[in-house]
């Protein structure tokens, strides 16, 4: 089950992550799920075998700060968020501009956020 969840707000993210970096936590990944009106974000950290998950929600138009100052490796999952969900990340040092895994020839944009894609008028996947 999903345990050790700490609910935070978007504005507290950088501060909390800085503390975790100081305590030698490892960043495992970042997961985004499309919910009504926006995205649900979970940042997975671990110290040894114990996990810690930071969770908050954002609206479609809101921007998330990049955590690369504390965890450089976060550029990989953050570029994935841009690719698959179209989430805006502020101050991303290595920015693939939505071409990290998807290519310019991919017929759909933001495949894991179909509602956002439908709202913006780009081609949507058949159900």
């Amino acid at each position: 089950m999903l345990t050790n969840v700490r609910l935070i707000s978007k504005d507290d993210l950088l501060e909390t992550v800085q503390e975790l970096a100081r305590d030698n936590y490892r960043l495992l990944s970042i997961t985004a799920t499309e919910i009504a009106g926006g995205f649900d974000l979970i940042y997975h950290f671990a110290q040894g075998m114990t996990m810690l998950n930071l969770r908050f929600s954002i609206g479609y138009e809101q921007e998330v700060p990049s955590i690369t100052p504390f965890y450089f490796c976060a550029f990989v999952p953050e570029n994935e968020l841009k690719d698959f969900h179209g989430i805006k990340i502020a101050n991303l040092p290595i920015n693939y501009r939505q071409l990290f895994i998807l290519s310019e020839l991919t017929p759909v944009k933001t495949p894991l956020a179909p509602r956002a894609a439908a709202a913006s008028g780009t081609e949507v996947l058949p159900e």
Binding site: S103, T106, P107, V108
Partner: protein, 156 residues
């Protein structure tokens, strides 16, 4: 000139490109080269250079980005050449058929001569397909057909 065609049949060089998919067929292709199956006893050699190769082995489903690379490799190979699609993903897209990023089958990008559907293709089946491909390579009539074949759809 008969020896040329015979030499082609007895020692075709292979170029392998994995276009996507799960890697299983790619690994089985390499396994076919190693001691238990020993593809090299038929004079076949795995080369990394498309200009040296006679047979193009395609494994995996062709996606938006790799289709261009595949097309590029195919065009660099000199005539005569044979394309073998190994695995169900290379034939039709397989389990990923409905994916948003795929072309359903390698034949949408390059002309395919031989289809080997399997998930994953066994080394014995790969050897069988490659021997058949070597036979095709020696057929001059077929070679001419290949040269005049219509350009396939420029998908991917």
């Amino acid at each position: 000139m008969a020896w040329v065609s015979s030499a082609r049949k007895r020692s075709p060089w292979l170029l392998h490109y994995e276009t996507g998919g799960c890697n299983g067929c790619a690994i089985e292709f390499v396994a076919a080269l190693t001691p238990l199956y020993d593809l090299e006893r038929f004079g076949m050699l795995n080369t990394g250079n498309p200009k040296h190769a006679d047979i193009l082995v395609v494994t995996g489903c062709v996606n938006a980005r790799s289709g261009r690379v595949l097309r590029n490799l195919y065009e660099q190979m000199s005539e005569p050449k044979v394309v073998v699609a190994v695995g169900v993903c290379a034939c039709t897209g397989g389990i990923f058929h409905d994916g948003y990023n795929l072309a359903p089958g390698a034949d949408k990008v390059v002309p395919v001569d031989l289809y080997l559907p399997n998930c994953a293709a066994r080394p014995e089946a790969i050897i069988d397909a490659l021997l058949t491909a070597a036979d095709l390579l020696a057929e001059t009539r077929r070679r001419d057909q290949h040269a005049h074949q219509r350009a396939p759809d420029q998908q991917g």
